[in-house]
């Protein structure tokens, strides 16, 4: 038996507008490479124009805050590496600074300088990720390899400095884990002195580039008032023209003694945010070189505070002294912080990274809230992108700069 099929020709109206004027819902992510991780965006499209955008997060939720409540203060430290995994040293510092504020620990000068140095190097590495991934999204594929080459140099040095390429966990309560030798500092010095020329190379490829300019200028604009109301911080707020930097406004780790400038944008679009971040890399180089200078002067000084209630005694003493062995045991098994609550925000590469910790005096936290700048940046996507063409979406996502490990926690 032969089977016949009846085909009806589409009507002229259908050919012209197959969805009859309805909005088309487009699902971007969670596996889309341009969403920088596992972000899902439900976008209502009117033709090419985005009418309504709804970010959907949580695909990478690992319950870090609950984990902190069950693990205790000390053992949570390696978990902070996994928040914003492109800048683990910054997360370590932010978390420990909140704890140090709670415990009232004074940090030795050398440890502060090492922290500043490592935070600024991490900032460069994080901004390089931003630059590489954003430019590959917009079609500049060779930029990705250039930035990752420089980033790999940083990671090689960090490997020698802290013992790990990523997930360093090198910062400790009251200081840093170990002192560093001069050879590594020489390597870092030669990298940092050569790096501004690398940035010149990136800028030569992008800043004056017609395609880069057209795809970023006047795209994803936000005013200063809007940016404040939407809780944006960091480069996104500075791109909108607000001169605010926690390193200047609420200095920590001795940032007030370093010389550096805070770049701000004028228009508040993707291009301004790009310029701000590129200039921030140059300023980070400046700060890091100053920190290296200071480290050269204070070689051999203390790098860990002496407070046996919170800080591990030196290993050599643990093997010979009963007292120190007891302290070691107490700190490892039952690190108690005083009762109280503390919030400390630091200027991470994405914005204000804050840790809000509440302690009841026992070794388990009552609450450890992570104020993730990435979550705020994701929240701002609809404000920046609604009403614009869909092709602007990748530029906007890239320019807001977030890492899903931090957004979802």
């Amino acid at each position: 038996m032969t089977q016949t099929f009846e085909y009806s020709r589409p009507t002229p109206e259908d050919l012209d507008d197959p969805i009859h004027g309805e909005l088309m819902q487009l699902n971007m992510g969670p596996q889309h490479p341009a969403t920088h991780g596992v972000l899902r965006l439900a976008i209502d499209l009117d033709g090419e124009r985005m009418q309504r955008i709804e970010p959907d997060v949580g695909y990478l939720h690992r319950g870090k805050e609950k984990t902190c409540e069950s693990l205790g203060w000390a053992k949570f430290l390696p978990h902070t590496d996994r928040l914003d995994y492109v800048q683990p040293l910054m997360n370590n510092t932010g978390y420990l600074m909140a704890l140090e504020q709670l415990a009232g620990i004074e940090i030795p000068q050398r440890a502060q300088d090492i922290r500043v140095l490592l935070m600024e190097v991490s900032r460069i590495a994080a901004h390089l990720i931003y630059l590489g991934t954003t430019s590959i999204d917009l079609g500049a594929v060779s930029m990705f390899f250039n930035t990752f080459k420089a980033r790999e140099e940083i990671y090689t040095i960090l490997d020698a400095y802290t013992g790990h390429r990523m997930n360093n966990s090198y910062i400790r309560l009251g200081g840093v884990y170990a002192d560093v030798d001069s050879e590594v500092e020489e390597q870092l010095h030669s990298f940092l002195t050569g790096f501004p020329q690398e940035i010149d190379g990136y800028e030569a490829m992008l800043t004056g580039n017609r395609i880069w300019y057209d795809r970023n200028r006047d795209v994803g604009k936000i005013t200063a008032e809007e940016a404040l109301a939407w809780s944006l911080t960091g480069p996104n707020l500075r791109g909108a023209g607000v001169e605010h930097d926690l390193r200047k406004a609420e200095p920590y780790c001795g940032y007030e003694t370093y010389e550096f400038d805070v770049p701000v944008g004028t228009v508040g679009d993707c291009y301004d945010r790009y310029l701000v971040r590129v200039e921030e890399m140059r300023q980070s180089v400046r700060i890091a070189l100053q920190a290296l200078e200071r480290l050269r002067d204070t070689r051999g000084a203390e790098f860990l505070a002496e407070d046996r209630r919170y800080i591990l005694p030196p290993k050599g003493k643990v093997h010979t002294s009963m007292e120190e062995l007891i302290f070691q045991f107490k700190v490892v098994t039952d690190l108690r912080l005083p009762k109280g609550e503390a919030y400390r925000g630091i200027e991470s590469s994405k914005g204000e990274l804050g840790f809000f910790v509440v302690s009841d005096g026992t070794s388990l936290p009552v609450r450890c809230h992570i104020r993730a700048p990435g979550l705020v940046n994701v929240q701002a996507i609809p404000v920046l992108a609604e009403g614009r063409l869909f092709s602007d979406m990748v530029a906007i996502i890239g320019s807001l700069d977030f890492v899903m490990g931090e957004v979802d926690r």
Binding site: V57, G58, H61, G63, E65, K66, T67, E69, S70, M97, E100, Q101, L102, G104, I105, E106, I107, E225, L228, A229, W230, S231, L232, V242, H244, A249, E250, P338, K339, G340, E341, A342, Y343, R344, G345, E352, G354, F356, V358, V366, R367, H369, R371, L375, V376, V378, Q379, A380, V383, D408, R409
Partner: protein, 176 residues
């Protein structure tokens, strides 16, 4: 590393803004100015802090579960002023049997995700939030993980999702 206590000028600005609203003040152990305020007047107070004391931005909204103390939740709004650099923490106690709190999304749209996360994790319902739904946990999840009674090892997904899954499947059959 002890932080300096909130400056006198900060307290003056806050005091002027909150004149006539019943509240209690304290200084937190990290030196931040804290305002303890009732649930019924907190929205009014937040509005005045925004307009009169120029707190243009909300840094975080979260809750602390003080179980078994009642009222068990302490909802915290942490505000920040660009103009003066002040920070203030507004605390509202919310009972466990009626976990509702006024939303501040109409004042600061950026608080939306913070409040959704707080609802997701603690079950605190922010009244007036335009789109209060779970943020991090999946839709249909039956628990609030950061409550103290939620076990640290979690709850088996099988038990959790069966009911929700059955409901959805029945809806598909009917709603074709």
């Amino acid at each position: 590393m002890s932080a300096p206590a909130a400056a006198e000028a900060t307290w003056t600005r806050i005091g002027e803004a909150l004149e006539g609203i019943e509240h209690r003040t304290s200084t937190s152990s990290d030196g931040m100015a804290c305002i303890h305020i009732g649930r019924d007047v907190v929205h009014d107070a937040l509005g005045r802090l925004k307009t009169d004391a120029h707190f243009a931005s909300v840094t975080l909204v979260t809750a602390v579960d003080l179980h078994p103390v009642e009222p068990r939740f302490e909802v915290q709004f942490q505000l920040w002023s660009l103009k003066s650099g002040d920070r203030v923490r507004v605390k509202v106690r919310v009972p466990g049997d009626d976990p509702t709190c006024p939303s501040c999304v109409d004042l600061w749209p950026g608080a939306s995700f913070f409040e959704r996360e707080c609802f997701d994790m603690f079950g605190v319902v922010f009244e007036g939030h335009p789109d209060l739904k779970r943020l991090l946990m999946p839709e249909g999840y039956g628990h609030h993980p950061l409550r103290k009674e939620f076990p640290h090892q979690g709850i088996e997904p099988d038990r959790l999702y069966r009911k929700w899954d059955e409901e959805r499947r029945s809806q598909w059959k009917d709603g074709q």
